[in-house]
Symmetry: C2
Subunit: 310 residues, 2 copies
């Protein structure tokens, strides 16, 4: 059996996995992300943990294909990370460094892109080669897979779909500095903001309270048939469906995989996105399927492993 | 020397080229597109013309790498054309047919995508591998090149950027049936429509007349400093720049190549697109260059030839 390590480096913890080359997870564990001194210990810690695991399992190093890692920042196709603020990293070739430290073939990808690859390999997008993953969390991230390969983009900004301009006339700036980004309306934060604005004007009964206008509260309310929550969900779905239609006209995927915290709402989420997608999508792109992500927080670990298996 | 044939199949004529494998055009000519009986003669005519040229030049068939062809319709990665209305074609594997007829390796691509490949190889995008080509003609077409390869899309609708939704509240339908498509504002037809709408309300002097509100007249007027024409050009640039920023957030190209009839206006065209692109683009994507196409009607021939050279 051949082995591969999949590593998902986050700002707080590093999720690590030992997988077979077929994508069976044999072991998974976490180590702490030590961000001191520009995050200089992060990759050495990862390498040490891999070596320990190899020793613990009595694995012959010749049977290890390599190690892949996802990082929260732009990464180009050569494995150069162009700053990862949440790790304290400046620009450097993280793939080369990780390879030297481990003695293994190493590949690096952006975390959202790598999660997309994971979902394509073993999750909601399994069986497809042209996949767009949309991660609805605090922000909105994306990963574009064309013919089984991540579209990193010329400066590592491929799949930055949270920053597509979808609304004119916005007066509040997005975290990126622009106005009217997809993320401002369809992230957990964006849904909560819409709920807050609609709640302030709402004069009928609702299960929402001013103390909890979270995306979770909204979709719980939708399931309970709450009228205000349904209005908020409609607004969310209208905007996200429009955004996905824009993406479809560019790369014409087979499937959209919807993940991130907001996707925990389940299938009902998709029922709000699909009508808008159908309205705005070019007829040649309407065939795209819409599914939920299935790997949760493990998507990055699977996708990172997949990075090194070609 | 190795040879390759590049063929651009249009609704009226087929443009054909004999090229060296380095992309030097050795000969080019045209044949008529005979569309009778579902266009059944088109590929046999192309094959016969290729065989004639091989005989005429005394080329050893072992030195011919193959033949590539661009067609006006969706084409998947296997060379299956999914209907090409302008040729009378239904769905069939045109690559297989052309290969059988010529005895050569044959590849087929969508004409807009193939033109993008041509501009990447020998035109405005030469030297780049991540290219988005935008063709501003009667409609708006596009071609997405990632890492040197065309993004055909899962149903051949990759790069259908003319049908990205960029304006809410549009009351006139696009040719595709949707409302508010990029093509409705930034094609030659779209520019002319904007000119017509603005002309009707204009009460100052202008070089435009109601008999000629064409895109060419508008950009000629811009060059002459005409105030109305400049307003029309600003509106065009605002919309197209926004559209290109949307594309950039998906595939993060190195360069946008602007072609088609409207691009004959020259560099001044770019000066209206760039400010809007800079306004709407995600900061990580702003580095994209904006250049004019240089191959004109030969882009398809070059790109078709490039299809078979790997």
């Amino acid at each position: 059996m051949k082995y591969v390590f999949g590593v998902d480096i986050g700002g707080t913890t590093v999720k690590m996995g030992l997988l077979s080359e077929n994508g069976e997870c044999l072991d998974k564990w976490e180590i702490k992300t030590v961000k001191d001194n520009g995050g200089e210990k992060i990759l050495p810690d990862v390498a040490a943990s891999i070596k320990e695991k190899i020793a613990e399992k009595g694995i012959d190093i010749a049977d290890v294909i390599g190690v892949g890692a996802g990082v929260p920042g732009p990464v180009d196709s050569k494995g150069v990370v162009h700053k990862a603020v949440n790790l304290g990293w400046d620009t450097f070739n993280a793939a080369e460094t990780l390879s030297k430290l481990t003695g293994l073939k190493a590949m690096i990808g952006n975390d959202a892109n790598v999660a997309a690859l994971g979902e394509m390999w073993k999750g909601g997008g399994a069986g497809y080669a042209d996949v767009v993953m949309v991660t609805l969390g605090t922000g909105v991230g994306g990963g574009i897979i064309v013919d089984g390969k991540i579209v990193s983009g010329s400066s590592g900004a491929g799949g930055e779909i949270g920053h597509m301009h979808v609304k004119d006339g916005e007066t509040i700036a997005c975290g990126c500095g622009n106005f009217g980004c997809l993320e401002q309306y369809t992230s957990a934060t964006g849904i909560s903001r819409t709920a807050s604005e609609m709640f302030a004007k709402w004069d009928k009964s609702t299960v929402l309270t001013k103390d909890d206008l979270s995306a979770k509260a909204v979709f719980d309310g939708v399931k309970a048939g709450d009228e205000l929550c349904i209005e908020v969900a409609k607004e969310f779905g209208e905007t996200l469906g429009k955004g996905l239609a824009l993406i479809a006209a560019v790369v014409n995927p087979e499937v959209f995989v919807i993940g991130g915290g907001v996707s925990k709402a389940g299938e009902i989420l998709l029922s709000y996105i699909t009508p808008s997608f159908d309205k705005y999508a070019f007829h040649g792109c309407k065939n795209a399927k819409m599914v939920l992500a299935t790997l949760g927080n493990d998507a990055g670990m699977y996708g990172a492993a997949k990075l090194v298996i070609e």
